[in-house]
Each structure stands twice: as C-alpha cells, then as structure tokens.
Symmetry: C2
Subunit: 714 residues, 2 copies
DNA sequence: TAATGGGTGCACT
DNA sequence: AAGTGCACCCATT
C-alpha cells in the first residue's frame, strides 16, 4: 500500500487552499475537468442567485470503479482523487472503516475532506444516519446591511429577491406530485402545503452533501458523497476552531499518520506551499518518503555527518524542492544538525528542507542541545518523528520563544531533561516515547501548554513499528521509569479548568513518577486521568507560601478506581482531589485541601480494598509501625510521610494529634498503631485499638519483668 | 391573594381545549376582539398562505396596566387573562420570579400557557435570552404529499406558493434598510443578499413568541409576549411528551399547587369538562374552593356522615355541576364515602362530584378500606388531597385495576399498609405525608409504577398548611418512622433503568425504613436518592433463588455521601450499588453483587468519615463486640446483621471467616473485634488488632488469675 | 453579565 | 438534502 503523491500548485497561494478542480469565478480553470453541469447561470458582478449552481462538475475518462447506479467506489487511496473529480454522481466511499460509533465518522471524513479545503459539519444525524454538509461560511460581516439589488432575471424589489431565494431553496426539495386539497380534516386551518426553509444565510447554500448510513443488516456504515459540487471556493483554514478540535482529536486518538499529514498540511498552508489535493497510488518507488530525521548533538562546526539508516533501506529519494529560502540563523555558529532517514513508506514527503550535513547519531556526551536553534534554523517547521537519542545527562532546552506553536511530537525522548521556556506561546509535546525524562516548563504567561507524556510500548507485535505504536487499547500503554513533570506558572490561571495547563496521562504510571506543580499561586489541573496512578508523588513546593491549589480531576469512567488512585502515593500540601461531579463531599476522605503544611495521607496497601481516608488534615504515620511481619501480601511496604520542612508544619491550625486521642507509645516487641489525629480508622476503632494497646501495655507492665511471651496458642 | 375562577365552556368539547379568545377559521368569532392586525390576507377555501395572519387580536376596553410603549403589565393573577386578551401589543409579564437559572423560565411559562392550550418550545436561547414559540404541530402525516394549489392573490404555480410562503416569513424579520452591493470583497461569489429560512413545515409558522431577556444591569429576567396571536387552534394535550416532562418536573420541584392545578386540568380535559382559560382575581367570596376531602372508613351502608371541618371556616361553597353521569358501582354495596371539606383558599374548585353522605373522621378500627371502591365510585377522578386518618392496623388496598392512571397524591397517610395490585396500569402515590406505612405493590406486568413516599414536615411555620408543605428546601423534609416499601415484579424489566419502577425518596430516611424488593427475577432501581439513607434495610427475598439484582443509583450530586449512604444499613444479597457514572469499580467497596446469600456489610459508625467496605462478600459482624462502652459519640449503636435463614447461608461459596483469620473469643472484660472475612478493615489492620487482642489475651491469661488491674498510669 | 436580534451546528424525534 | 428543539454563537446598536 504505497501511495505516491502528486502535488498541485494552486495558483493563488495567499488566501487559501482551493480545490484544484472546482472552478470559481475568480480562480483559473481547473486542471482536468470539463463542465458538465446543467443550467449554469453565469453570475453577474453581484453574483446573485448562482451560488447553488456555479460549480463545474467534471465526469469523463475516469477509471474509477462504479456501482450499477453509476455511483463510484473508492479505495482508501483514491478517495481524494475521486472526490476531486468533481462529479454530480454519487460517490460511494468504500471501503470505510468499521466505525464503532457514529462520532467516528466525522473525523474520518475530515481527514479526507480537510485537505481538499472542505470543512464539513453535521447537518443531521441519528443512530443510523449522518448527513454532512459544508460548514457555513462566516464571511457575512456586513450581511445584515446587504439588501436589495437586481437579481439576474427578476425584478429588483426586496420582496422578489426574497422570493427568488426561497424558490431556490425549494427547487431542491420540490419533487412531490401536486394533489389538490388533501389536507387532513383534523387540521383546523390548513396552510399552504409547501415547506419553508429555516433562516439560512447566503453563505450556507452549498449543495455538497455526504451521507453516512448504517445498515442494520450488515452492521456497517456506508458513506456516499451526494452532491460533489460547491457553491463556494474551497479553502483549508488551519486556524478554524473546528479544525483545531479535529486536530486535537487526532492527538487524542494517537493517529500519528494523520497528525503528520496535517502538520505537513498546516505548514504548507502557512508557507504558501502547494497543497496536494489528490494521492495517486502506485508502487513505482519513485516517491519514497522521509520518515524521520534524527536530531543529534551537533559539533561546534557541523561538518562531519553520517546518515543513520534504520531497518528500512534507503531507496529512491525524491528530493523535495525548497520553495522558500530558509533564513539563516542570525548567529552563524548555530549548531543545528538533522540527520535524514529515508525509507520506503506510505508517508507524505515533507517539504522540509533538510541540511545534508547532519552528523551521525551521537554517542554519549554531556553537551546541551538547544531545540531552539534547530527551530530557528528551520524556520517554523514543527519537529515531528524526531529521535532524541541522548544520554540521561543531556539537557534539552526547548526554547520556543520564537515559535508560536511548536509541536514536538512523536519523538523518542529518553533520559533527558526538557526545559521549556515559553513566553508566552504554545508548546506541545505529544506522543513521544518517553522514559526517565524530566519535563520542566517555565511559562511566564498563561499560555496553553500541553504536555502529553506518551506511552512506551513493550509488547511484541509493534516493536517493528517504533515511533508509531498508537491506536491500540489503553491497556497496552505504559509510562515506565521515573519521569518528572514540572511546571511553573506565574499567574493564577483560574480559567484553566477546561483549557490550559493540563497534563494528560494515558498510561499507567508504574512507579516513581513525580509531578512537581504549582509554584507561585498557580492552579494546575490534571485531567482525564484514564488509568491507575500508583506510587507517584504530588508535591507542592514547600518553600512557597502563596495560596495554590492542585486539582486532580479523575475520570472515573475510565477505570480510575478510588481504591487504586493513591496507593503508595504521597500527597503533600494543599492538593485537592475531586471527582467528576465536583462534589467535594464525595472525596472528603481523600482530600487534604486545607491550607496547612501537614495534610498528608499514606496508605500502605496497594490492594483494591482500601480507601485513603484523611478528611481533616489528620496524619496517620504508619511508619511508626513495622508492618513487615504483619502484612500478608508482602508486596507492599509502608511508606513514610515525607513532610515539608518544619516551617510550615508549625503553621498548622489544626490541633495536634495528641489533643484528640491519647498517644500510644510504640513498643518494640509488638506492633502498634500510631494515630495522630487520624480518621483513617474510625474514632471508635482507634479508641478500641488504644484500649487494646493500653490493656496490653498494662498487662505487659505487669508481666514484662518476667519477659514471658511463651504460650501463643489459644 | 385570593383568586376566583371564571370558567368558560369551550364549545367543542370533543377534540381539545381551545383558547376562547383566539379566532380560527373554523371556530366561532372571538368573544371580545377587534382586528388590529395589518395586512390580513384573507384565505380562500384552501386556507393557504394565511395561517400566519389568521388570528384576530383584540385590544379594547381592558383595564390592564400598561407601559409607556403600550405594552401591558401583568400580575401573577391576571397573566392568563391578559394573555387571553389576544393582542398584538407586547405583553410584559411582570413581575416574574427571580429565576435562578435559565431553565427555570420555561416551566414557569408552561404553567401559564399550558392551561391556555399553548405548548411552548424554545426557539433560541443563550445565557441572556430565551425565545419561546409554539411547538410545531405534528399533524403533517401527509404533508409531503401535499402540493400546489391556487394562492389567493398569486398565480397557481408551486413556485409562487413558495414565494409567498417565503415572503411571509420575511415580513416578520425584514426590517433592514436596503443598501446596494455592500458585499465583502473577500467573498468569492456573493449570492443574493436576502436571507433564507431553514426548512420548516407548514405547521410551524405560528408567529406567537415569548421573549425572556436577562438584564445584566438589573440582574433580572423580564418576559414579553411578542406576538400574541396564533396560526392554529389552541389545544391542551395532556398526553404530549413535553407536558409529561413538565408534569414530572412539577413533581420534582414539589410544586403541589401546580400539580393540583394540572391534575385538575387533565381531568377536565379527559372528561371533556370546561377548561378555565382565565382567572379573574377578586375577593368577593363567591367562589371558594374545595381543598380536600377526607376519606374515612365507610360503614357497611353509607348513610351517616358528618362533615369534618378543618381550621378554616366553611364559607360560600359553590357547588360544581356534575357534567357527566357518574357510573354507579356494579355492586350496590360499595362502601365509598368522602367527606367534603370546604375552605376559603386560592385553589381551584374541583369539578368532582362529592357525595354528601360521608361520615366523620373515623376512630380506631381494624376495617379495611379499599380505595378501589372509591375510585370506581367516582369514575376516573384522581384522589387528591385526601387524608387517610387511619390506625396502624388498618389495611388499605389500592386496587387500581380499573383505572389506567391513578394519582393518589397529597394525602396524609399514616400507619397504614398499602397493597397495590395493579394489573398492568399505572399507579402513582405522590406527595403524601407518610409515616409508618407499608407500601406493597404486586404488579403483574412491567407497568410504570411510581411510588414517591413524601416527607413529613415538622417545622412550625407550615403546620397550618397541612397538605401543602412543599416548595421548600430539602432539608425541611423528613421521612420519619418506620416505613416499608415493597414491590413485587414478576418480569425482568431490563429497560427499567430510566423509566419504570423507580422509587424516589426526597426526604432523609431517619431510621427503620425497609425496602423490600425483587421477588422473582426483578430488576428494580432506586434512583435519584437525593438524601442520606440511614438505617434502612435492603433485603432480597431469601426464599427465592432466581437471579435478581437491585440497583441503587445514588445521585451523589445532591448530598448523598459515600460516607453516609449506608450507615447502619443492612445490605442483603445481590444488591448492586452504583453511582452516577455507571462504573462499578468505584463502588466495589460497597457492593456485594455476587450471587451469594451472605453478602452483608454493617458499619456501626454514622460519622462522615467511614467507608463501608465489603468488596468480597465479607462479613464483619460487629454485634459480637459491645461497643457501647467504647464509642465516644454515643449516638450510635452497633447494628446486627440480619441474615437470611440458614438455607442460603449454607450455600455461601465463600470461606467462613474462621478460615481466614483466627477467631477471637469475645471477652467480657474488654471489647474485642470479631472479623469474619471482613474487609471493612484492612487485612493488615485486622491482623494487627488480632495481634493486640491475642497479646492482650495472652497477657490476661497470665495476669488474670491475680486480677491485678492497678497501675494504669504510664 | 449592555441590549437585542439572528445564524447555524447538530441531535432528537 | 427528513423537521425541529435547543443552544452556541455572531452581528448590530
Ligand atoms: Zn461546499
Ligand atoms: Zn401558536
């Protein structure tokens, strides 16, 4: 399944990506189309009344498979080509994936139609059908002010314009026979029987439709393009909200292929590069692709380099043209080196100018590599599929000040420390294979930073796909090693709940991960915790005394169990754990959101049966008991409660534990339970235990001089 | 605030409730209206194109307050009257409540407009505005088949009909000045500049609008009726889904006034009785109302009766006519007696024929009263505001076989046993003041049974409003005493999750309530548990071995806390506790959904800090410990675990408690903790406790012979 | 949290 | 190319 690409330059690179086969009033003629549409009412300067028919569908000499009704069949590869043929015939998209949900259809279609400059929206949907149409243009800034003018073949009155517009709408629907007065007798006042349109702007009349229908018999969705013609110019707008959502979903779905494709598309759009509008499948080997390029540590002068080959052979490399002069770095001594790896694959050839003087993969070194340099050298090229094969002691500074939106995605990033200093723009770290890294952001503004530490795949069947391990069940994901994610936000981003500053962990944290958050009055959220979180530390900086609050929103729909959430996890200072429904009451037993320094909770048992209970800033320090000879499972050890320095400990407004429950001295010979102010156990139970302990102590005091610990059997 | 009622007979009682002041093509002329609308295009026999203008607004001689713009002001009492005046002027509804949420507006308006035969829907809304219109009629079964016919003053072509329809639509909106060719230059193909309507059926053209706008300055909603004219006949349809939802919300909100009003309205509708369309406030004392009527135990022959007067005086009683002949009971010996209590109040005069031969309030007796008899005697009259002043040993059988939908609402029902045998129709028990009752349903089909045990109000300020204690905070509600609610469902109602068979408890259950459920393979749900549930027993029938499952869906958003849910509650056999998000995982610690007979959990502590943990069908029987001298709070006593008979106990596949943890004999002199297989405490803690106990026992064995309990101090 | 009117995405029916 | 309930928007003033 090799797909080559045929790129087509659109003439006007300034305003947008236009479908090369759709003729518009302002664009040049399409490359391969003959006008077969009927009743093309040429528009006047006012362009009125022709928007529904001003496309020029072409249909001739195509080798496309067709159904008996003339509708066309597609392959995954030729869909864009077929669609771009611009026909009025039905175009069956076949095969289509086995969509599990109705909502999966739109993204799949968007992947096809966004590159063609078509932004689709749902016109109507239910469980067995989704009808898509073009999104209405939002051009009408002054549409309200617009008013009457001469229509092409009508009078100039507003009324008749209205008439005309209405009539146009109904021409599409009005295919019923005309019966006379067949009103239901129970209708008191039968109005006229012609349907009316709901208010629609003149920018919302495109006849293009895509219909997806679900066959209950075959349990399969089928998709047909119904009116492959448009009343408007096609344009790919990477800045639209809908597109951003679409892109975000790609990231959620870990659709690396599509992300790459659209990153490329965005870059081309922004760079006014030609946009490919059709992908012609072949296997001639002429258009292989660049899959990735390794970033290696540059020497002081980038002279020597050796290309690193992956398991794929380097075949015919089609050099991509450099459409724009790459600005040279301001400092001539910038050390930026990429290594180009070319392999035969069905990827898109990136139009990224790659320097050929990249050195080979680096060996161990302690140098720092500044991605800022690379980014600057290569203008605004997002780094994709880049391997950072660095040593643990390397330091990588993602200084992305100069790049409004950097996507450092799909890289293999191990054993590094990432220090992002973004001011104030976006910086994304997505879908990287990460192990033992530290991600450290220092953002000086309420920027939108998304750090999505992705999983490492360890199973076998995907080992040959290093770099593209995604789109599988979440159970396969792992976040191994000891990773550290830290952010500094200098502003109180109260509106960050749904947008900014979220970490998204899709894989279980095995152990030892640390999330350092919230210096200087920040409000950070950890959202969509889809998996168990085990043995992690949530730590506030104890040296700061500003009010700050960490919120962890656990999506308990996705397997996060109360019992497992905080097993062997240290919670330090002012963390607030909430669940979906925003009722703190439900979580009082695992929250310690009071502004004291010593609100901690430790639970030693990683079973599914325990609950971490610490509702009133109480401490139960199980370290004072040696459970090792008591625990049955044996897999767990008691975890000590790492408190902040004494400075804040003294500020605690809560009564000391001894003020509530009498302390019990720990005895060496038998385990004891040291409760301070704890509510981990009920008061009654603790009192009962205290009673037992005191009784024991009393008895021991009576008997200990004799040291008789003999008769253990009952 | 006394409101009298002026009832108006609508002429045609067969099809619906029509607004008496709205003229239609088929109805008679309106009572008091002068046509002030402009451009009324009279319709021909086909009635085409006139539906938007065929009303005759009236506006003259009204004593209604007006704003300076001519818009009218309303009082809560005269809204229906003002609305029914049918004017084209703006009608300000003022005052309106201080709506806390946007969603509160629609129910409030529905309370006004449903009785007028107007079903409103939201046309458009945002945070500061809600626009309502009439719900589109669903008459158009053959609307597609309908087609062209001559329009009144146009040609007969479909096109021109369409034109006319469109133009009409635009008349409402087309108030913009006409400029020439002010299209944006970036619009590639500017079509004609007149807006179009989205598709609308011919039944959806009513110009009636209500606009609610939120003033940001005054922080207040204001509501204006914009086009008080309709293109259709008005009709109150109590069977519409929207109305049912509206009614359900009234019940949720405990809006007893409105519920009564609409129950009355429904009854009138079903009985083809006249519907009041306006309420004229006055204080003449001419139209007092029946507030309630007591149902008392009839004698064998219903002869003697004495009217029971409440604290309100009986004033002028307006006898209501008996519009239909009430069918006499098949058995002449039916003992059905109601006692009419009439008091001056602002309620609606029910049009219910009341026998005058009701006896006085009963004293103690052991007779059974069959509400079935009463229902049959009074045809389909729902029982409302009925006081059951019975003794605890009475038995009331709600045999509602003959009534498709009985609403036994707003009654005071104490110390009774209700046995419903519904087959298969609905039976509602709403808003009753209930204490120490047993509700027992035996439904032979998957009927829709709603048993809503209502609260008893104990506070002072409402004691004078017995029967109407609602619309207050939930904290005021109480469900005192020992109530028992039992249902038998003989079918597996798998689809009952959102619809059928739900119990709704709005008040806290103080203690001793028992919910007996699930005989014979039933799936019953307890939904929307809005308050704490304390000291209740959820018991499956231990004599049955069919697979059955009880589900309790706790709405934790409304105050139900994990910690409080099951305090002192016995959970017996196959109960499945889930929370909102349907993830059983989150509730494993309080579920015992394995098919064993002995899955029980008891927790003795009604504090907010405990969690009931019973993930593996374990039992901790705290009765084996006498906590009374340990508990500090003193408010709680240990609850015994009432197990089913031994038959199922022996079938438990679980290991006995002694198989896991060695039993500790209870000592008289010191409390002990008897854990069987429990996970209420962690294994480790229990082992620790056992260790302490054993140590204690060992020590006691060593020292007890000497009985030295002296040196207690450390 | 200005006030007011309208377009349109999209799922429910 | 279902119609429509509803809300998230945007536009104008
Ligand atoms: Zn289009
Ligand atoms: Zn209407």
């Amino acid at each position: 399944m090799v797909i080559h690409q045929s790129e087509q330059n659109n003439n006007g690179s300034g305003s947008g990506v236009s479908s090369s086969t759709t003729s518009t009033a302002t664009s040049t003629s399409s490359t391969s189309s003959s006008s077969t549409s009927s009743a093309v009412t040429a528009t006047t300067e006012d362009d009125e009344d022709s928007h529904a028919k001003n496309t020029v569908p072409s249909h001739q000499h195509d080798p496309i498979l067709r159904n008996e009704d003339g509708s066309m069949l597609t392959t995954p590869q030729n869909i864009p080509m077929v669609i771009s043929k611009d026909q009025n015939k039905l175009i069956h998209l076949d095969p289509v994936p086995n969509f599990k949900e109705k909502a999966d259809i739109k993204p799949w279609l968007q992947k096809i139609f966004y590159p063609m400059g078509i932004e689709i929206v749902i016109e109507r949907s239910d469980n067995t059908k989704v009808v898509f149409k073009c999104k209405a243009s939002k051009r009408g800034r002054k549409s309200r002010k617009s008013s009457t003018n001469g229509t092409p073949n009508n009078t100039t009155s507003t009324f008749e314009d209205t008439v005309k517009e209405c009539a146009e709408n109904f021409i599409i629907h009005d295919n019923k026979v005309k019966t006379k007065n067949n009103n239901n007798d129970d209708i008191p006042q039968p109005p006229s029987r012609v349907k009316k349109k709901r208010a629609v702007s003149r920018f919302n009349v495109c006849p293009f439709r895509i219909r997806a229908t679900y066959s209950l018999k075959r349990h399969k969705w089928s998709i047909v393009v119904i009116n492959n013609t448009h009343s408007h110019e096609l344009n790919f707008d990477p800045n639209s909200d809908e597109y951003k959502k679409f892109k975000a979903k790609l990231r959620e779905d870990n659709d690396l292929e599509a992300i790459k494709k659209f990153d490329e598309l965005e870059y081309r759009k922004r760079s006014n590069l030609p946009i490919q509008t059709a992908m012609i499948p072949c296997d001639c080997g002429m258009t292989n692709e660049i899959e990735s390029f390794n970033i290696v540590i540059p020497n002081t002068n980038p002279k020597t380099s050796s290309t690193t080959t992956t398991k794929q052979d380097i075949t015919n490399k089609k050099p991509t043209p450099s459409p724009k002069a790459i600005p040279t770095p301001t400092s001539g001594s910038k050390r930026t080196i990429n290594d180009l790896i070319i392999k035969k694959s069905d990827k898109i050839v990136p139009s990224v100018p790659i320097p050929s003087s990249a050195p080979a993969v680096r060996t161990n070194t302690t140098e720092q590599i500044s991605l800022d340099d690379i980014i600057n050298n290569y203008s605004k090229i997002p780094l994709k599929s880049t391997s950072f094969l660095n040593n643990p002691d390397w330091n990588i500074n993602l200084l992305s000040d100069h790049n409004p939106e950097n996507n450092h995605n799909n890289n293999t990033i191990n054993n590094n420390t990432f220090t992002n200093t973004n001011n104030p723009n976006q910086n994304h770290l997505f879908y990287n294979l990460m192990n033992n890294n530290s991600l450290y952001n220092t953002n000086n503004d309420s920027s939108t930073d998304i750090i999505q530490a992705r999983e490492k795949i360890d199973d076998e069947e995907n080992d040959d796909e290093v770099g593209v391990p995604l789109q599988r069940d979440n159970e396969d994901y792992e976040y191994n090693g000891t990773n550290q994610i830290a952010n500094e936000y200098y502003h109180n981003n109260l509106d960050s709940y749904n947008t900014d500053h979220f970490y998204k962990f899709n894989g279980p944290f095995d152990s030892g991960n640390i999330i350092l958050t919230n210096k200087y009055n920040a409000n950070n959220n950890v959202n969509d915790m889809n998996h168990e979180l085990l043995s992690n530390n949530f730590i506030d900086d104890p040296l700061l005394n500003e009010s700050h609050l960490n919120t962890l929103n656990f999506n308990t729909n996705l397997g996060l169990n109360i019992n497992n959430v905080l097993a062997n996890t240290t919670i330090t200072n002012n963390n607030n754990f909430t669940n979906d429904n925003n009722t703190e009451e439900d979580w009082t037993n695992i929250s310690n959101n009071v502004n004291t320094s010593s609100a901690n909770a430790i639970h030693p048992i990683p079973s599914s049966d325990f609950n971490l209970i610490n509702s009133n800033n109480n401490i139960i320090d199980l370290n004072e008991i040696d459970f090792t000879d008591i625990f049955s499972g044996g897999t767990t050890t008691a975890t000590s409660n790492k408190l902040p320095p004494q400075t804040k400990q003294d500020e605690s407004p809560l009564p000391k534990s001894s003020e509530q429950i009498p302390m019990v001295k720990n005895e060496n010979t038998s385990p004891s339970l040291h409760t301070t102010t704890g509510e981990v156990l009920s008061k009654e139970l603790k009192q009962f235990i205290v009673h037992l302990e005191e009784t024991t102590k009393t008895l021991q005091n009576d008997t200990s001089p004799e040291e008789n610990v003999d008769e253990e059997q009952k």
